[in-house]
Amino acid sequence: MSTTTLTNLVPAIEVDGVSRIYGATKALQDVSVSILPGQVHGLIGRNGAGKSTLLRIITGLEHPDTGSVRFFGEDAPPASDPKAWQQRVACVYQRPSVFANLTIAENLFAGRLPQNGATVSWRRMQDEADRILDEWNIHLDPRSLLSDAPIEERQMLTIAKALSAGTRIVLLDEPTVQLEGAAIRRLFDKVQELQDAGVTFVFVSHFLREVTAICDSATVLRDGRVLWSRRGDEIRSDDLVESLLAGQEQRRHRVEDTSASAGSVALKVDAMTDKTGAFTDVSFSIAPGELLAIGGVGGSGKYSVGEAIAGLRRLASGQVTVTGAPIKPGKVKASQRAGVGFVPADRHKDGYVPQLSVAENMTMAVMDQLAPAGFLSPRQQTNMAQTLIKDVALVPPNPKLAVSGLSGGNQQKVVLARALARDPRVLVLISPTAGVDIAAKDAIYALILRALEDGVAVLLISDDIEELLVSKRVLIMREGGIGAELIDPNEEDIVRAIEGME
């Protein structure tokens, strides 16, 4: 590629010794990255490695505690001037941030509508929009609403908008997650065409194949530091896989022998297909006291499988059986009564009710037992919560406290306690340790272990490779189906299976 001829140029983006600290978390530590004009630069790292923080710093949404950012040799604009940042850098997110309720032309000119004196000149705007769309080979009517355009065209439009406004640097934050094959190729063709015209790209993706296909330089972040930064042929997929592995400092919580009683099945999922198509024909079973993990990229349908077992999704076909009894799909109460305990993916969204107390949140799923006739005894509720608080070692151990006042780890313990309150036979846990500190993580794993010892079947669905490694048996989902079953995998096996690079 053309990079070697450009080495003597001033970098388009120069990040110099940048650190960013949130409370106790060092999101970025002394990160330096230099990207030359006309390059496509890959930014790689696991969840929490600091990619998003770095992107936010390059787009001016956040500002470094120490260090500096320069564009084409000039210091970055002051924090107080977001408009100046937007002129230099544009960012395309996986869900394009646009106005779906406005026309395509308005989206292209949002914030700089062509005017005739005090009024918007629709004619000039539409003519200009026509010209831009032609140039980009986007066959859409600028007068139509953006909500009618496919997601791929929306991403193209975001790039087109940025470049027509004079921006020469475009950040692509996992732009392909929502796209299918042909659309990805069209996007890449366009990126390469623009690259030849001198536009600089930063490309963030979990798909290593895409990185090797399109990038001519790349930086790998791990734990907020630059692991390495390379050019051209030095980027090989094997190195990339290795770079995503956690390294030595990893803490293993491997569940050794899951005394699975031979022959008996606690949870059986049989040819389960989601009504909205999130997953198709998924089958597996878990024995009492056994742990099964499911991994996969975002959009692979892994979370939906867990939600379906918990009764939060309707099925088109298939059957979920708990301890031999089939459960009525799509009914949370039915799943709970059958013995399913559930920890949802996003505790803020559907895990807890922030302004209610710890006791209320913990006992929410057992109201039918606690108040069979509808009448509740707060004392009984508090007593039950006290027991659960002890079980999950909640800090502070106060059942009356509003959950909104707890730390992230303790909020998650409340959600876990809610799942345990019914004495489940099956626990479905989605990313149970996401966004919690090490101490809480240890405590949560200890609870999972104890449940396994008590003969509970545990389904652990996670984005975090380290978390998947806790389990001896790991299923990898791809595009709504089970792509691989791994027994006793190491990190590399899992990364390869998730990336589809076996």
Partner: protein
């Protein structure tokens, strides 16, 4: 930082905790006391048993509507058509009973059946509203705005604008009787507030309202039947509104086509002044009751103070605004 703040709260005595919990509701109290003091200064007639009874009696219907509205607000929804239900439900019943000569249909039905019809109409309207909001996912404000206009229109259409008088005694009883020298309506409203307050605290239905208003997704994931509970809140609220209409008819000894008009604005003001959040999940019956008492006392004092009739609404609005500002200021300083 966060944890230390929690620890200090946790270590305080139960009494202090209880007080903190109650502050939001109690922030109405200073306002109420000020209005009472002004009332006492303005007119010697204010602090008489007869006048205080009058205040309570005139607040009864508002109070009952506020109970129902609070249930709905707790779930994060809204029903502004309650005021039209106050008018329509007794109107239909009265229209069926009253002889054709004075504008009715003259079916000569049993007054107890008429009471039953009144309440059933409330239940029906609540089911309809709840269904539109929950099952069809329509915006509660727009749905109930349309219903407010529609139901009021039906009331006007049935009565042809006339006032239907000559209601049977049994139909008027609850709005006109006195128990132990105090209007029955006051007893009933008080008891309903008590039951509603206890239901919010001590039943799984009440707690579910808070859970849904706080985070409906989490409530669903916890196995709460969100749709059913929200619809039931609409049904209970509309049935209570119909009952308030019955009481109002009894007090006025007639049914007019404008009964309940503008009541929903006072009801919303009372609930919000009393600490019920429009966004759902927060507020208690004690607060709502205090809000009702504040507005009721205020109306009375404004009349006694001889505020010109045409200016009463302006003063009323200004005081509601002031009460909200004081409440918000109170919430700030506690942080």
């Amino acid at each position: 930082m966060r944890t230390t703040a929690i620890r200090t709260t946790a270590s305080k005595s139960n009494f202090a905790q209880g007080l903190v919990q109650n502050v939001r509701e109690l922030s109405v109290l200073p306002g109420l006391i000020i209005v009472v003091i002004i009332g006492a200064i303005v007119s010697p007639a204010f602090l008489t048993a007869a006048n205080l009874t009058l205040i309570l009696r005139q607040s009864a219907e508002l109070g009952i509507v506020v109970i129902g509205l609070t249930f709905i607000l707790l779930t994060g929804k809204l029903d502004i058509s309650l005021e039209s239900t106050v008018g329509l439900a007794p109107m239909v019943a009265a229209w069926l009973m009253i002889p054709a000569a004075v504008g009715g249909l003259g079916t000569d039905i049993n007054p107890f059946l008429a009471i039953f019809i009144t309440l059933s109409i409330g239940v029906g309207i609540g089911l309809f509203n709840g269904f539109l909001v929950v099952k069809l996912g329509l915006d509660p404000f727009i749905v109930t705005l349309a219903m407010l206009i529609l139901l009021r229109g039906i009331t006007l259409g049935i009565s042809e604008g006339k006032t239907l008088a000559g209601l049977p005694d049994a139909f008027r009883y609850i709005g006109s009787a006195r128990w132990l020298g105090v209007p029955a309506a006051i007893w009933v409203t008080g008891i309903l507030f008590l039951i509603a307050g206890l239901a919010l605290r001590y039943t799984s239905w009440g707690r579910a309202l808070y859970a849904i208003g706080g985070n409906a997704e989490a409530a669903r994931a916890a196995g709460i039947r969100v749709d059913f509970i929200v619809i039931s809140a609409f049904v209970v609220a509309s049935a209570l509104a119909a009952f308030a209409g019955l009481m109002l008819a009894g007090r006025l000894a007639s049914v007019t086509s404008g009964m309940g008009e503008n009541l929903i604005f006072s009801a919303l003001a009372a609930a919000v002044i009393g600490g019920v959040q429009l966004t759902g999940g927060q507020g208690r019956m004690v607060g709502a009751l205090l809000g009702v008492l504040l507005l009721g006392t205020l109306t009375n004092v404004l009349t006694l103070a001889g505020v010109p009739t045409f200016w009463i609404n302006a003063v009323y609005g200004a005081v509601i605004l002031l009460a909200l500002l004081v409440g918000r200021w109170g919430a700030r300083t506690r942080r």
